[in-house]
């Protein structure tokens, strides 16, 4: 019996495809998310919008809180550690979380290196803004990728930018001659073997979700139509007027992302969406997506 293999780590993400992963800060939130049909929850002390408002250093959440949430729901529970903070990751693995998000939403612990994720039995998901970043993370052992967007804003523009970048670069890659791949690998700073594999298959070797700024069912369906495998919703649900209703509507929108009639139905009467921050008004120093190397 082998545990913690690449197959079971990547295979888990395959089971989440077509689903919504929701940020939750209490066991009550987790129950609402599960009842609304979330395929997994991300256990946090603060959603990204509050991390922004709070300022200071954002760290891994209290393991006690994460354990409470794990006890409350039967769906997978993910938790975040800081970029490069492999001891936070060891702690999260020790308490048995189902996935670790090495996340730019928390304050990075290392400004040069990400975690060597091959050494862990628990699978990792990592953020990216472009194909080079995605392949570097997969090279380090990420079993799942998400585009970063700009967390805690409720503005989907960066999520769109990053998803278009990754998927567009993959499309371009498939049209290249084999003798162009080494130079392209150098240009985007990605491992040659993974670039070649991506050129051959025309897709990433792991599941790719969208994240960062999804606030409405339409936002979620937009990301799905652009070609991602599923959606993370952070502040968008529990910072809105009616979380239970909005959570269920976003799940339905991701299931039926190509059916505008259903999207119209589920978008009705959801109450106030989260108050957004336009990404263009954010100074560079407050942008989370630039964290990661």
């Amino acid at each position: 019996m082998q545990t913690g293999t690449e197959t079971v780590k990547r295979g888990h993400a395959q089971m989440l495809k077509g689903g919504v992963i929701m940020d939750v800060v209490t066991p009550e939130h987790a129950r609402i998310a599960e009842d609304a049909g979330a395929c997994a929850v991300m256990a946090l002390e603060r959603v990204p919008a509050d991390i922004r408002a709070h300022g200071g250093v954002a760290r891994m959440s209290d393991p006690g809180l994460i354990l409470e949430i794990m006890k409350t729901v039967s769906i997978p529970v993910m938790a975040k550690c800081r970029i490069g903070h492999f001891v936070e990751a060891q702690i999260l693995e020790a308490i048995g979380v189902d996935y670790i998000d090495e996340s730019e939403v928390l304050t990075p612990a290392d400004e040069h290196n990400h975690i060597d994720k091959h050494g862990f039995k628990v699978p990792f998901v990592c953020g990216c803004r472009n194909l080079g970043e995605a392949l570097r993370r997969i090279g380090e052992g990420a079993a799942m990728i998400r585009t970063k967007g700009e967390a805690g804003t409720g503005d989907v523009v960066e999520a769109v930018r990053h998803a278009r970048a990754v998927l567009g670069e993959i499309r371009r890659l498939t049209t290249m001659r084999s003798d162009e791949l080494m130079s392209y690998s150098k240009e985007i700073g990605a491992p040659y073997e993974l670039v070649r594999e991506t050129a051959e298959t025309g897709s990433l070797s792991v599941v790719n979700f969208a994240a960062g700024g999804v606030a409405t069912p339409a936002d979620a369906a937009l990301m799905m139509q652009l070609g991602v495998d599923g959606v993370f919703v952070g502040s968008g649900i529990f910072k809105s007027g009616n979380p239970a209703l909005r959570a269920k509507a976003i799940v339905q929108a991701v299931t039926h992302y190509n059916d505008p009639k259903i999207l119209a139905e589920v978008s009705q009467g959801l109450g106030e969406p989260m108050v957004g921050i336009g990404v263009t008004t954010l100074p560079e120093s407050e942008r989370l997506a630039v964290r990661g190397w």
């Binding site: 913690g4 295979g11 888990h12 049909g37 997978p76 979380v97 189902d98």
Partner: protein
């Protein structure tokens, strides 16, 4: 899965279909087909068995293991178990097809219904798919 099937009124049509259309559930699909899953959730309840969800623990306990499966030729099948369930009890009409070394049931069949706790779709080995196709042919001939 069960929730969406419930919201969109698919539980009854799927239950009806299972009487004439061959059905195969893997992992969550196995849970969806079981009569008893130990908790309240929307299920088809078409297969006479008691199931335990997340029977091996959490994701860090997910594993790969070679299995002997009745009806498959050519040696053991490489089973991939991801937060997998097990079958704790089966009704008298259900045939057990595969067990782990500790005896726990991970594949079973009743008529034209097949359940596997592992994920054959994550391996390049298509023998379980071939087995199901054979079941479909048998069902067609019987009809």
């Amino acid at each position: 899965m069960g929730k969406l099937a419930d919201w969109y009124g698919l539980l009854e049509p799927l239950k009806d279909a299972s009487k004439s259309v061959p059905l195969w559930g893997t992992c969550a699909g196995l849970i969806f087909m079981a009569k008893d899953v130990g908790m309240k959730q929307p299920i088809l309840a078409v297969m006479d068995m008691v199931v335990e969800r997340n029977a091996f623990g959490r994701q860090v306990d997910s594993f790969e293991e070679d299995l002997d499966m009745i009806g498959l030729e050519g040696g053991p099948f490489h089973g991939i178990f991801i937060r997998a369930p097990v079958i704790k009890e089966v009704g008298s009409a259900v045939e057990v097809l595969s067990r782990l070394k500790d005896g726990r049931i991970v594949a079973a069949r009743r008529g034209s219904m097949l359940v596997t706790a592992f994920h054959p779709e994550l391996t390049p080995d298509d023998r379980v798919h071939q087995y199901f196709l054979k079941m479909c042919k048998q069902a067609q001939e019987a009809a």
